[in-house]
């Protein structure tokens, strides 16, 4: 039988790790130094969240694996992150849109998890991560407004980002088998509750930015069951190279 608690933890661990990697790609390439630092700081926080989750997932799995094994030695079809987080950085507007769509979920997910979960470890991880996620959301919301209400050029670019990414926004709140079992068993959240709160956060900012974007359209799915866009393979090829080429290598 599948270990659904493991799958549940892995889904979010993979979300955090893959987005962390994407943000790290901005290191040295940010539009201005302060925002280069902001993106790498958020990357670091998400890596920290991923590590706590992988560490717990490894314990739950009970095969003697470590957080590193889970991050570096699984292939694309084993990754259960949503497709949103593997989407390329694009321009700064595209990165901001992707970050905002993720942060709104991350905040509402951790908040709900802290309140309803019956799993002490998950509550502790959510409690520890929530303040970080809220700070990320403050940053990405401010940039949404700045770009959306900025120049014609910045608005156009943010609109282009919305056109590309809105079809990836809902996968994270569409329940997988692991999500359903988690909610029924009580260690996980009811994604309907998260969605209601998250949608509100998104809609407010989308309206203020005067963007033509809706959460009611077509939605890509598949990430949570290991079906990914072509982009994930390239992310893993770079991220996992060292452990694949030199198995067991340590600093």
């Amino acid at each position: 039988m599948e270990n659904q608690l493991f799958n549940y933890i892995i889904q979010h661990a993979d979300n955090c790790l893959i987005l962390s990697h994407r943000l790290s790609e901005w290191c040295g390439h940010g539009p201005v130094l302060e925002q280069d630092i902001a993106m790498t700081n958020i990357s670091l926080d998400l890596l920290g969240q991923a590590r706590m989750l992988y560490d717990y997932a490894a314990k739950v799995q009970g095969e003697g694996k470590t957080e590193d094994d889970l991050a570096y030695l699984r292939d694309a079809w084993d990754f259960k992150n949503v497709q949103l987080v593997e989407m390329p950085n694009g321009d700064f507007g595209q990165t901001i849109m992707r970050q905002f769509l993720f942060d709104t979920f991350n905040v509402t997910f951790y908040r709900e998890l802290m309140e309803v979960s019956n799993d002490a470890e998950l509550i502790a991880i959510a409690d520890k991560s929530l303040k970080e996620a809220q700070y990320h959301l403050k940053w990405s919301s401010e940039w949404m407004l700045r770009l959306g209400q900025g120049t014609e050029e910045s608005h156009t670019r943010l609109q282009n980002a919305a056109n590309l990414l809105m079809p990836y926004a809902n996968e994270v709140v569409i329940p997988s088998e692991a999500d359903k079992v988690a909610a029924e068993t009580g260690y996980g959240v009811d994604l309907n509750n998260v969605k209601a709160e998250r949608d509100q956060l998104i809609k407010e900012v989308i309206t203020e930015c005067e963007l033509d974007a809706s959460l009611d359209g077509f939605s890509h799915t598949g990430g949570k069951t290991g079906t990914h866009t072509e982009h994930l393979g390239y992310v893993l090829a770079e991220m996992q190279f060292l452990q694949r080429a030199y198995p067991g290598l340590e600093w």
Partner: protein
């Protein structure tokens, strides 16, 4: 050699945050517990931010300081619950931060006074600074940029 809890805690005063070397782990509020059983010492620490890269160095430094003092068996545990908050920072720690040029966290105040000239005429430059725990400000009077240890 045998040590009691207080002696171990005093030894650990030497362990500082590698990125802010003026402040000890006790001042920072990340030293959560010390348990002493004969010559076996257990130290609990908690991360400030989840991805803080200083944690592994701090872990090594704790073992090093205690080993050098003659404590042979040292275990350092990383605990995440309850989650760290800047409320746990000592007043002494805040003073040391200010003297070092970093504005300490103060949840009761909206303004962040300049640690150099004391002016309250300052503004936020960036939500994120040189490390996960800091944001970047500048003083509009003395014109110096400075780090602010974020309220968390």
């Amino acid at each position: 050699m045998e040590f009691n809890k207080l002696e171990i805690e005093n030894l650990l005063e030497q362990v500082t945050d590698p990125e802010i070397p003026v402040i000890s782990i006790r001042d920072l509020g990340i030293l959560r517990d010390v348990k002493v059983d004969n010559n076996q010492v257990e130290v609990d620490i908690t991360p400030t931010y989840t991805g803080c890269p200083a944690m592994s160095v701090i872990k090594q430094d704790i073992s090093q300081v205690l080993n050098d003092a003659g404590v042979e068996n040292v275990a350092v545990n990383l605990v995440i619950k309850p989650a760290w908050t800047t409320d746990w920072m000592t007043e002494d720690g805040k003073r040391k931060l200010r003297e070092y040029g970093i504005a300490p966290p103060d949840p009761s105040s909206k303004v962040v006074p300049c640690p150099r000239c004391g002016s309250e005429h300052t503004e936020l430059v960036s939500l994120f600074g040189s490390t996960a725990c800091k944001s970047l400000y500048k003083c509009l009077d003395c014109k110096e940029p400075f780090d602010h240890f974020k309220c968390h």
